[in-house]
């Protein structure tokens, strides 16, 4: 029982994990991206179409990454190059994602592909309770484990990572040290968006291997909230994403068991929890445990006179 629930938790949490990691890379560089929801949809459709047309899952994942990398570049261009309002641009990107995937997704509705299959890691998958959840999963989930570590390593052990964090904290400091603020911010937004796209592709290539209009169903917004919960750290993002995965898995379980509680109430739980998490993490922020990049949301203009 616990084994199955844990397994469902990881599977439900993975798309949110990818999206949260992507959003963290955006925000670490100082750019708020509220286009996550739209990017997930673009990733889901691009991933599905790529696989449907080529027959290869790898091509699908790459297509998802490239499509959202490009879509994210629009946000990067507006917010970094033109120094536009990050909130408005991000919301527009979400609207754009919902609209364009509905338009181009029509032909993909009802089509089928063969999605990602489980791949047991010999030995490890036999570990009681956690074996099935963590070592008998598909390749994208293994990739997400690796990614959590890689992003942490990137931020804290490489010069590029230091550069990204610095342009997010104090762009003027990075600039006077010879770092190109716009280059770092642009690439962080695009690449982060690409990861969000893989999260979307997980939905259409692994969770339910098909394309359904608006299939991200608010997961992008949950990711936006999780970034704050995770304190902009990738290992904590994993914890947060699985927490939400767990709630989703549990409410599905309750429904299957046939409780008397209305299904609508149960489906509301993850979103209700999002609000709760935001309240708690905001209170924590006010108590001084702030991890928020200081330059978050602020455009950088070198010649701005303060």
């Amino acid at each position: 029982m616990l084994e199955i629930l844990l397994d469902a938790t990881v599977r439900a949490g993975t798309p949110i994990l990818f999206a949260t990691l992507g959003a963290i890379i955006n925000e670490r560089a100082g750019i708020i991206n509220l286009g996550i929801e739209g990017l997930m949809l673009i990733g889901a459709l691009a991933g599905f179409s790529g696989t449907y047309l080529s027959g290869s899952l790898l091509v699908g994942v790459l297509a998802a990454f490239c499509a959202t990398f490009a879509a994210g570049s629009i946000h990067a261009f507006i917010t970094v190059q033109l120094r536009g309002n990050q909130i408005v641009s991000g919301l527009a990107l979400t609207m754009f994602g919902i609209g364009i995937t509905a338009l181009f997704g029509k032909e993909m509705v009802g089509q089928t592909i063969v999605g990602f299959k489980r791949l047991a890691i010999p030995g490890f998958s036999q570990i009681p309770i956690i074996g099935r959840a963590f070592f008998n999963q598909d390749l994208l989930i293994y990739f997400s484990f690796l990614l959590v570590f890689l992003i942490w390593f990137f931020f804290y052990r490489t010069r590029w990572g230091l550069g990204v964090r610095s342009v997010g904290e104090n762009p003027a400091a990075a600039d006077t040290c010879g770092f190109s603020v716009s280059k770092y911010r642009f690439l962080a937004v695009s690449t982060g968006s690409g990861l969000v796209g893989i999260g979307g592709a997980y939905l259409s290539l692994a969770s339910t291997p098909m394309w359904i209009e608006n299939m991200s169903a608010g997961r992008g917004w949950i990711a936006v909230a999780l970034v704050i919960f995770a304190g902009w750290s990738s290992p904590k993002a994993m914890l947060g994403a699985y927490l939400f995965g767990g709630i989703t898995a549990m409410q599905l379980r309750f429904q299957a068991m046939g409780t008397t509680v209305s299904a609508h109430i149960l489906q509301m739980l993850p979103y209700f929890f999002t609000i709760l998490v935001l309240v708690i993490s905001t209170l924590r922020l006010q108590k001084g445990a702030s991890q928020q990049p200081e330059g978050l949301g602020l455009p950088y203009d070198r010649e701005d006179r303060k």
Partner: protein
């Protein structure tokens, strides 16, 4: 002497402002060259041009005889030009190590942490500094943060070091230490541009001095050709300086008594820690201390912007710590804030409106619920004449005024209701000498009328000249009082670094 840097006819304008008009000067190798000028003369703008942050509209920059064009700080760094900015270019959330590493060139993407830590530690040891590499920068004092900025430049082996008012955040003793380091760097053949408006320092350290005025370079003087009065007269020129006289008005009546006050900031650290202070009627009480030792929190508590965690504030025999009485009392306290553009004024509103912000509810300026525009205008015209505010056409937003005139608007508004207490934070920061003297005059005149002033300033000379008593703060505590007529800069300096004095007033 060979010239390392040569600047010719630099001009830089911002929308509506000519920041630099025509500046030429040169800096030799192994020279400490001081740029002297009043605030607004264009010193910082010029340095931002030199470090590639601003693009000049015209003019030439040459380095070691080669004509150069900087399009970013990267370019100027490549030519060995580095700067310690007045507002530090540090990432507060990052460790000392990460901040310094950020500044290094040719660090591979996958760097060897140990190797670089050792390299940086060696330099720190060479200059005998007390810096722990793993401490986050926000935990450090402002003085220590400045050393990090200097180390960043030294690690890059910069040939020209620019220091923009470096001593503003140091005690006199720390400043001496900085000068010793600068002389040592000079002996190593490095060029240094030193920016300051403190005559004493300029006299002490400069090989040559270039005077900037209103965006133009007036003259370059060699050591021996200048003394304090000559520099001052060149810098100020024909500007009129208001005259005022200080008289001893102080009575023994205590108007404000602070006992055991503690205030914590958003990071959970103590800004004020068991702080005591008493203010007498008609007194100008100077507060000395290195920036960041709790002065701001003190002003914020007194003016109601911050709540206390512990302690008592007494006004006469009334406890006003956290009661309703506090707010009516605070309404009677005049406040000259540190950051005049963000909390001192509403920048986009006119002078007329800014001047009545404290008294708009009074019957004088309204008819029932409507503004009495005529009375408001009359009030503004009076104040503009009385305080000699230079302004544009009626209705000009205050943001277009110069710093000195904005300060006059604030003072005119704050003093219009004849307050019993004035809390002034760095009231002359960024002002030209004429305006600064004007502010001094207003404060001294207020004391004649029995107004008590808490004057928080970073310039010891200003405090010594104006105050009846000086209280010294360190890490949120009161170290002691000194009598400005009897004390020495050294004594205050030691107290500013936390040493308890032998004698108090």
């Amino acid at each position: 002497m060979t010239d390392f840097l040569h600047i010719k006819n630099i001009r830089k304008t911002f929308p509506g402002v000519v920041a630099l008009d025509d500046v030429s000067f040169s800096v030799a190798r192994a020279e400490i060259h001081t740029l002297l000028g009043e605030n607004g003369a264009g010193k910082s703008t010029l340095m931002n041009v030199l470090t590639g942050l601003y693009h000049p509209d015209r003019g030439e920059i040459s380095i070691a005889g080669e004509r150069v064009h900087f399009t970013s700080p990267r370019d100027s760094l490549a030519y060995g030009i580095g700067m310690v900015h007045q507002h530090f270019m540090l990432v507060p959330a990052h460790s000392v190590f990460e901040n310094i590493l950020l500044a290094l060139e040719n660090v591979p993407n996958f760097f060897n942490r140990k190797k670089y830590q050792e390299k940086i530690q060696n330099l720190i040891d060479e200059f005998d500094l007390d810096l722990d590499l793993d401490t986050p920068v926000w935990k450090l004092s402002i003085g220590a943060q400045q050393w990090i900025e200097l180390i960043k430049l030294l690690m890059r082996d910069c040939q020209l070091l620019i220091l923009d008012e470096p001593t503003a955040v140091l005690t006199p003793q720390e400043a001496d230490r900085l000068f010793a380091v600068l002389r040592r760097l000079k002996e190593q053949g490095k060029s240094i541009i030193f920016i300051s408006h403190k005559m004493r320092e300029v006299m002490e350290i400069s090989d040559r001095v270039t005077i900037l005025k209103k965006g133009c370079s007036l003259e370059t003087l060699n050591r021996g050709d200048f003394d304090e009065s000559r520099l001052a007269s060149l810098m100020i020129g024909q500007d009129k300086i208001p005259q005022w006289q200080k008289t001893l008005q102080m009575s023994d009546q205590v108007v404000l008594d602070i006992q055991g006050l503690s205030v914590r900031n958003e990071r959970g650290l103590s800004d004020l820690d068991n702080f005591n202070l008493s203010l007498k009627k008609g007194e100008i009480l100077g507060i000395a201390g290195v920036a960041g030792n709790g002065q701001k929190a003190l002003a914020e508590v007194l003016t109601g912007l911050k709540n206390t965690n512990q302690g008592r504030i007494m006004a006469g025999d009334k406890d006003i710590t956290n009661s309703n009485a506090r707010y009516s009392y605070i309404a009677g306290i005049a406040h000259i804030p540190e950051d005049r553009k963000t909390i001192g004024i509403a920048p986009d509103m006119s002078i007329d409106d800014n001047l009545i912000m404290k008294s708009f509810k009074s019957g004088l300026f309204r008819n029932w619920i409507f503004q009495n525009k005529r009375a408001i205008r009359r009030n503004a015209a009076e104040k503009i004449a009385q305080f000699a505010i230079k302004t544009g056409p009626d209705g000009t937003p205050v943001r277009y005024l110069s710093g000195g005139n904005i300060q006059k608007v604030i003072i005119a508004r704050e003093l219009s209701e004849h307050p019993a207490v004035l809390v002034a934070l760095y009231p002359t920061r960024g002002l030209d000498i004429g305006s600064a003297e004007y502010v001094h005059k207003v404060i001294a005149d207020g004391a004649h009328r029995g107004m008590s002033t808490i004057l928080i300033a970073e310039d010891l000379d200003e405090l010594l000249k104006l105050s009846d008593r000086i209280a010294v703060m360190f890490r949120g505590k009161l170290i002691g009082y000194v009598d400005p007529r009897k004390t020495t800069r050294e004594e205050i300096g030691l107290m500013m670094s936390g040493e308890t004095p032998g004698a108090t007033t």
